[in-house]
Symmetry: C2
Subunit: 299 residues, 2 copies
């Protein structure tokens, strides 16, 4: 423990340097650097806002309510980070990809439970009320080499716009989720439903923020993917449904035009039979392209 003596009588011009200096003896240099950046920007924001004491109390209350809303199936701070554009910024910074790799986008607040391991071709829709959709795809390297044995973690809302954790009374846990392993040719396939656009949860502090600021809470329809493969950088992304509303005003700033795909009605009785689907059926094809890990071939 180190207690550097404070300059006497800190005021609004000297307290920032004192707060930064209080972290000078942090052993981890990365933590020390991040705290210095955080303190300087937080203080700069406060100096610019000049909040009243009541406004500072409102901010404390908002953060407290946001924390209280978080539980095993709800992550309100991720939602807050999402609607402030912070998640999108962090993803963009972390994925300055080589041209040709699949673009990343935000994780979102619904990757809370582990997806069930599933066989290729299995349905992730355990309810079976809506029109079935075949999703086929491939995980490849930027040079086009297929990546066998790659992990494909999938999660999505249903045709009414709900994730399993949001309607535990109606949706069996794991519906809309699956963890697949690509075959010898880097391919994966599963059946599901075409997801609907949906509002992010509005029954918490973040929903109240959107309401108070006249922002709509909607996200365009999408399926989440995390693809992982040995020797490659994992990608966390979405595939967006091409004709979905809100593609041009996503509440969480996550749309990339390169991630929009057609989900089209297909009339192919032989293929339908092969996948155990009625004909015609919906179909989307998705290629996930991974960048080699830095340090080439490592892992």
């Amino acid at each position: 423990m180190t207690g550097s003596a404070l300059p006497a009588d800190l005021d609004e011009t000297t307290v920032t340097d004192a707060a930064v200096a209080s972290f000078d003896h942090t052993p981890d240099p990365r933590l020390r650097a991040c705290l210095a950046i955080l303190v300087r920007h937080l203080h700069a924001a406060v100096r610019e806002m000049e909040p009243t004491i009541e406004e500072w109390e409102q901010a404390v209350d908002f953060l407290t309510a946001t924390g209280h809303k978080c539980d095993d199936t709800r992550q309100e701070f991720v939602l807050l980070s999402d609607v402030l554009g912070v998640s999108s910024l962090v993803e963009n910074i972390n994925h300055r990809k080589s041209p040709g790799a699949t673009e990343a986008t935000v994780l979102g607040p619904f990757h809370m439970t582990e997806s069930p391991q599933r066989e290729l071709g299995e349905s992730i829709d355990e309810v079976g009320k809506a029109e079935p959709c075949l999703v086929t795809g491939r995980v490849v390297a930027v040079d086009g080499t297929p990546l066998p044995g790659a992990g494909v973690d999938v999660w999505q809302a249903d045709e009414d716009g709900f994730y399993d954790v949001q309607r535990p009374d109606v949706l069996p846990p794991g519906t809309g989720r699956g963890l697949f392993t690509t075959d010898d040719d880097g391919r994966f396939r599963f059946t599901t439903v075409v997801p609907s656009h949906y509002p992010i949860p509005t029954d918490g502090p973040v929903g109240r923020l959107l309401l108070a600021t006249n922002r709509h809470p909607y996200r365009p329809a999408h399926i989440h993917f995390i693809a992982t493969a040995n020797g490659h950088i994992p990608v966390t992304t979405h595939i967006f449904v091409a004709d979905s509303p809100y593609l041009d005003s996503d509440a969480v700033f996550a749309v990339k035009s390169s991630l929009v795909r057609d989900f089209h009605r297909t009339d192919d009785p032989e293929r339908a039979a092969r996948h155990g689907l009625p004909n015609p059926f919906m179909h989307a094809d998705i290629e996930l392209v991974l960048e080699p890990a830095r340090g080439a071939g490592a892992e």
Copy 2:
């Protein structure tokens, strides 16, 4: 609800303007301005840190744990604001007092329960194990006029450094707290114990932050005051005990030399008898000076 169309393909250089613009239709201009400032500074901090996804997740986890630690008697976000110097900055900004008014300092996380209304002269120490201390004082205007009928809200740790809410098994609720009204001459008086210096609570995320950064958690001994009077600006402040350790390295950056007072042993049998105290006794005298409300004479 308004949904301005987003520019397609937001990237790390364009997402900040998009996030700011998303709040453009906020009806309350003050909220709109604060959100724009917050988004710009948050994004600037992220851009400077370039956090990994894992670091972003750690930040989300830290905020979530901080929220979960908050309850009716614990305010971990206030503690976080305190140790980052934000509370001190906000207080300083809000109290650009006229010369002569008592300086303000931080509220701290222990003003959670309402102080019991007490008669002048009453003891706020409901345990009675430690040496008694007489506190006398006066609430006056900057021109020296006494302020009768002023409210004096007092809360403090005991001789072992604990507030009532921290040791509910040992300390009756309300011990160390009192709400007094000044007499016709603006005076107040009560008996108590000389508070000890103490560590801020370290059993939560903020304590773990201090540990990871080699910061000590101690605050110098002090008594909290909020003084309020008609036609005057309330002041939230502390009176610090002159010879306390940690006056030069307060964990929450709140010490002002103008707020340090002698607590001295007094040998005055007549005065002791008048206040029902053993002789000799400890004594501190405190003047709280309030600035007139802006708009003169208005409440």
